[in-house]
Symmetry: C2
Subunit: 468 residues, 2 copies
């Protein structure tokens, strides 16, 4: 089916303004431009006809009823920090920016939960709940992202080894269906076997099934100490081989990150962040937290024993806060460093974690055969590997011609590893052609049926995840 | 819509036998009777026309194609240990018993995962993975249940405080759709943002969306020590008030159970299991595990400090294995003790955990006004409370007349606490009329649309969760 979407006319804009108030609707040129793209480097922007900033769920319901009546595409948007064009309004129409719905309704310290609106940034969320010794433990690259965006993409990040991903922290939702009906799913409890889990259907659906207007979050306690080990290895395989053994220890680290030499050097060049031992091929960063410093020391000594057996070169446990910060900053600046360096693409595959090294070697083999360069970093503790094809020593146009072939081969390889296209960024616009390489036909057809069950007129974020 | 289902005729039975083999199809009287019920105490059995025991996914696909063609109801069944009639074949037809599909395909010690078939019992699963120091950490009342049944009901159990529920341990599924198409969802990874989460759609859907034929499970490491504290309180409120404080400690216990005096006495009477301090009103059982015994002692001492402030009467840490076993056995025998005692009903509500005491007091108030008795036990650490209306001192027929009114009031109360009908048992047959008391109309309508998206002819486990 190909859906046809209408564009907003002057008359329709007036109707919309009279329905939800003049102030919530913008057609200003600079806003149209601002809301035409996300942070992805290679996706063409698309202008929306109009931007709506709802103040509450009733505004959202009114917008969706209006859009359904007139067949207008509605693209929900968080903070616009996505990397796959998930909030790019491919068919114009309405961008529904949730930025003004950023309140915290409740922080429940007895149940370790918070009830919040989707426009709240992750940074602000942690400031608010941090006053009560609590945190939202999903730590992603850009914490200016909104919690609504994290829910839409099922954001993962660096702490997934211990804490899992956004999905595991969403206990309930308030959501507006495309009909304008408002539903409540789940609640302030972890256990629930009462019908289908609509909460988990909506999490990760990238705004294509419903517009989330409220989120019940499970929080975690802030522990007293957070420490890290930075461990250089002479080769990637050794680094990755140590990972399953570390994860068999009694203490589960919050993060177990892998980064390769050329990326460390890229970050150094882009931001002047120097880290020690940078001439080694690969590095593990082991991050842990605990109320007891002795427990951390005991854990680190066990990690050292394991890594030593896997020929680690050194164990750097930064003693002071600034050295610690430097390592974490180096890890966090990987994506911005690529942005500063030149044309690059971003791949967010996930494979079984024991296969990470072989997968990366295979990818590099493919790239070498095509005379291209791919750098790797990522979350070794959970198999979510970020691969970055990078344009070096050739004109961008030439590189862009070769890129689709490289991407195809990498995703096909990922399929052969029984992996998936995206571990944490989502599919959005520019990954959808790869989904069939890791998902079977029956699953894809079923997803489309679910889409129609939720949104029969397909007005919500059309053109994302798959083509209908 | 009311679906009409055909019954199996001699001709159809011959067709089915010729399709999947004579040996997999049974119409023997004693089998028909055995497969007509589950463990629920108040649900009328229904005879299936035929029992099919598939050997592999192709058998399942053949059965579903056959059933679709002839409009025969198909009721998937695990070990039959459910408590809400979820596997009772309301419309006769085919019971699809997964008992012969009980193989372990793979135990992956590097990734802490196993790939298994649904007919495997939880006991056998733990024996198999236990050889590698691993466990499936969901500990439910009856471990003879099958893993497929646990997936169907999203079983929870005693360890949910630390480990979550079945849903959190299912990373991927092989499932047969009602069309006969076989799909694979998820994979051997925790992070995935590649389209809608079909895995989590199917988990907890009680066999109404698809027939699960393979499960990729996330496992946990077996820790060296498992210890418990048995703590009597003079009143329920004190016991429950200690719970949020215990959960703020650095160590997360695996379980935090609540039980009241009259249930302890019931178990004692039914099975002769005597526990100490049994004249107190309420008891907490705090269960923890660790590789370090010192850590356990430290944790228990913190728990004692908290409970002392909440007027706990005593702290009983059973030193020897037999005393420990007695406490756990007492907890595990609650349901069997009710079964031995006389007519009773079973309620599996979940409410925010900080509200548990008030909820139980309110329930008891309702029961007292109706001159009825309700006893409470359950998972204080996660708000999942089992309430047992019990027939005492009156004829069963009289009690049965009053029971529906009591159930209505309890579930309505649960709704006012923003709770849900079932925390871990599922809805099945006998809880479906209560679902609208805790779920809104829009959510219920959406669930029915999902049902049709998966199973357009509604042949899979009809009459369960809701009426279409």
């Amino acid at each position: 089916m190909t859906q046809k979407y209408s564009r907003m006319t002057e008359v329709l804009i007036r109707e919309l303004k009279s329905s939800i108030g003049e102030k919530s609707v913008s057609v200003k040129d600079h806003e149209i431009e601002n809301y035409s793209h996300d942070e992805s480097s290679l996706i063409e922007p698309c202008n929306p006809d109009v931007i709506v900033k709802p103040l509450n769920r009733n505004d959202v319901a009114a917008v969706l009823k209006f859009a359904g009546k007139h067949s207008i595409a509605v693209t929900p948007r968080g903070a616009g920090t996505g990397l796959n064009g998930g909030c790019v309004p491919l068919y114009g129409g309405i961008v529904l920016s949730m930025e003004k719905m950023n309140r915290v309704h409740e922080i429940d310290t007895d149940n370790f939960m918070a009830s919040v609106e989707p426009g709240l940034s992750l940074t602000q969320l942690n400031l608010d709940v941090g006053q009560y010794g609590l945190k939202f433990p999903v730590q992603i690259g850009d914490m200016s992202a909104s919690i609504g965006g994290a829910v839409a993409t099922n954001a993962g990040g660096m702490n997934a080894v211990k804490y899992g991903v956004t999905r595991h922290h969403v206990l309930g939702l308030e959501a507006v269906l495309s009909s304008g009906e408002i539903i409540q799913t789940g609640g302030k409890f972890v256990k629930c076997s009462t019908g289908y889990d609509l909460t988990q259907c909506i999490v990760g659906s990238e705004g294509t099934l419903a517009v989330v207007t409220g989120i019940i979050l499970k929080l975690a306690r802030i522990l007293k100490y957070k420490e890290l080990l930075f461990i250089p290895f002479t080769n990637l395989q050794d680094a990755v081989d140590a990972v399953p053994e570390i994860l068999k220890l009694n203490t589960i680290p919050i993060g177990l990150e892998l980064i390769e030499r050329d990326i460390v050097k890229l970050v150094e060049k882009a931001f002047g962040i120097e880290v020690p031992y940078k001439d080694n091929e690969a590095f593990l960063i082991v991050i842990t937290e605990n109320d007891s410093f002795d427990d951390i020391l005991r854990f680190f000594s066990q990690v050292e024993d394991i890594c030593r057996r896997h020929d680690a070169v050194e164990f750097f446990a930064p003693g002071d806060e600034s050295a610690k910060k430097k390592i974490l900053e180096m890890r966090e600046k990987v994506y911005p460093a690529f942005q500063k360096t030149g044309p690059f693409a971003e791949i967010d595959t996930v494979v079984p974690r024991s296969k990470v090294a072989q997968f990366i070697y295979d990818v590099k083999g493919i790239a070498a055969r095509m005379d291209m360069s791919v750098l790797a970093s990522g979350h070794a503790g959970d198999g979510n590997i970020h691969l970055h094809p990078l344009c070096v020593n050739e004109p961008k146009q030439e590189w862009l011609k070769k890129l689709p072939g490289l991407m195809d081969e990498i995703y096909r390889l990922c399929g052969s590893y029984h992996g998936a296209v995206s571990g944490e960024h989502g599919i959005g616009l520019d990954k959808k052609r790869f989904v069939p390489m890791t998902a079977d036909r029956g699953s894809l057809e079923l997803m489309k049926k679910l889409k129609y069950a939720f949104d029969p007129d397909a007005i919500l974020n059309p053109g994302k995840i798959f083509d209908l």
